[in-house]
Amino acid sequence: MNNIIGQAFKLGDDVNTDINCSSKYAPGKDSQFISTIAFEQLNPGFSQRLKQAQGGIIVAGEHFGINSSREQAIAVLHLMQVRCILAPSFGRQFFRNAINNGLAILECDTSQISDGANLNIDLLTGLVQVESKQTIQASLLPKEVLKIISMGGLIPFLNQHPDWNFQA
């Protein structure tokens, strides 16, 4: 549960998920459609390769999700079978949206992770094992955040814990 395994799919700095991973500029298109073309402009074939690998881990640069607030981006990432996102920093609202929609998200230095590397991430310790030869320490997620992610997001959490009890 707390370990996520997968291949690294790299993206660069300042990726705006409104532009690259939502229908903000493709009105009327649903998440299913967007999931087939997401990040295409930045990295042709990105979505197709993720699909062939049956999902994976997005490894990005600074400010992933910058200037974008749309929750739809997370729905699209789930459809693309993205299991976790690693980046040194995230757009503030993107970070919240990932947690609120049950997508694991960790802040760490990603400069040493190459595209296609096999990763093993321990959410509890924040340790990212890269190809069994290198380990990167990510910022620890607060226990409340881990709880919300593990329950699949904020609304599933509140359905179970309308009193916001994180201990139960």
Binding site: P27, G28, H63, I66, N67, S69, R70, E71, Q72, S89, G91, R92, Q93, F95, R96, N97, N100, N101, P142, E144, V145, I148, G153, L154, I155, P156, L158, N159, P162, W164
Partner: protein, 427 residues
């Protein structure tokens, strides 16, 4: 070690004695806001609730401002749903033309000093002008608030910015926010709270203080917050807000960084096309022709913005080939401008004065689409390529005075060189 304003407000709303930056807390919210851009998503999220009890709806406002008026059926239907929802749940409703969310919330008396306010728009930082912690959220968050009255927040680090000295006539809060963007760059203060203090803040009227806090969103800030003073309290009382509970930082509060900017030497600034952080003094720009001049948005659509533009355009005509639109931030501001005779000044100058809304800021209504190679100067907060639909047009940003001066000459112009360009309200 003491606490910052943000840490104190979050602690008070979490029911704990102390909150430190980095800590996650669950806070009681005082008021929530949903705009028409995110309402559709919020309604979808509501369907995931096992028990659709939305007890907090009465402390929530639905604001129909971005799609104002609606440009397609999808937006019109979202508006219908918002109106119906408001009737069923007692949510406050601000309909088309009533104004932009960040203006109608304070005008409607929905917030006061010491409050925690959340809204489905990045520029919810604006409420910090009233010493409230205001921050932007999305659909899941706001549905969580409507059902439980609470939200989880990670307490931000605070950056303290001293604005020393005094702004010279013709220089405004927008010139400070652009300076900040040039210094820290877009998202340079991501996740952080900003506390602005100093003589220049004290001297500002409420309209300029709202600009200061509003435009912090482009710095990536989670909140931007000022101390409450007599001006704040008088304004809140005049708008029927609940009794202000001013919150001050402790003398030994821990700041992530503290910087000082002396604004006495500051001149009007502009953001060059396509980037909010490509900032330059307006005097360095020569022979930059413009075709559109826009005054409005949640950043600079307030009465003092409209007054400073009117002072420049009074009895004059726009430069040939320039089209100008003024969009007040709310119906109350529209009425005030009407009563002061400002609308006539703009109309006589050849400009259009439109009803309140977000239309000229973001190209989702097709309200205003510039042609290829046309140059827009706007008081908006963002100028990304294609922000007004056409990626082959350029958008520059400046204060209302700079925009009006540019509309008059047809070139990006320092307002201080124009008769009326150094207007300032008499205290």
């Amino acid at each position: 070690m003491g606490s910052t304003i943000s840490e104190k407000i979050l602690a008070a709303h979490a029911g704990v004695s102390e909150v430190k930056a980095g800590q996650v807390v669950v806070c009681n919210v005082d008021f929530a806001m949903v705009t028409d851009t995110r309402a559709g998503n919020a309604f979808q999220v509501m369907k995931k609730l096992d028990k659709p009890a939305l007890g907090f709806a009465k402390n929530t406002a639905m604001v129909l401002d971005h799609y104002s008026p609606p440009p397609h059926e999808e937006a019109a239907q979202t508006h219908q749903s918002m109106r119906n929802f408001s009737k069923q749940t007692g949510t406050h409703l601000y309909d088309i033309g009533d104004g932009i969310c960040h203006q109608v919330l304070p005008e409607g008396g929905h917030l006061t000093s010491g409050n925690l306010i959340v809204g489905t728009d990045t520029h919810s930082t604006t409420y910090g002008a009233f010493n409230a912690f205001g921050t932007g959220i999305e659909g899941s968050d706001v549905v969580g608030v409507m059902t439980s009255g609470k939200i989880w927040l990670r307490a931000p680090q605070t950056v303290k910015v001293h604005l020393d000295g005094q702004l010279q006539p013709g220089v405004w809060a927008k010139d400070i926010t652009l300076t900040m963007l040039g210094k820290f760059k877009a998202e340079g203060l991501n996740y952080k709270a900003i506390e602005y203090v100093g003589t220049a803040v004290s001297a500002m009227d409420i309209d300029d203080r709202m600009t200061l806090c509003n435009h912090a969103a482009e710095l990536g800030a989670k909140a931007a917050i000022l101390e409450a003073d007599e001006k704040t309290i008088n304004w809140l009382n005049a708008h029927g807000a609940k009794t202000p509970q001013p919150v001050f930082a402790d003398a030994d509060a821990r700041y992530e960084q503290e910087i000082r900017i002396n604004v006495s030497d500051l001149i009007p600034q502009v953001a060059r096309k396509h980037a909010v952080d490509d900032i330059v003094g307006v005097n360095e720009i020569t022979q930059q022709k413009i075709q559109f001049a826009l005054i409005g948005t949640c950043t600079n659509g307030r009465l003092d913005d409209i007054r400073q533009a009117a002072a420049i355009l009074k009895g004059k005509k726009l430069a040939p080939g320039v089209r100008m639109i003024i969009t007040p931030a709310s119906r109350q501001i529209y009425l005030a401008a009407l009563r002061e005779g400002l609308i006539e000044i703009f109309s006589m100058a050849g400009a259009s004065f439109e009803s309140a809304g977000c239309g000229t800021c973001v190209g989702i209504t097709n309200h205003l689409v510039p042609g290829d190679h046309e140059v827009v100067i706007s008081t908006a907060n963002r100028n990304f390529k294609g922000r007004l639909v056409n990626p082959n047009a350029d958008i520059w940003l400046g204060s209302a005075a700079t925009v009006a001066a540019s509309a008059l000459t047809g070139y990006i112009t320092d307002p201080r060189t124009i008769d009326g360009g150094t207007w300032r309200a008499v205290a």
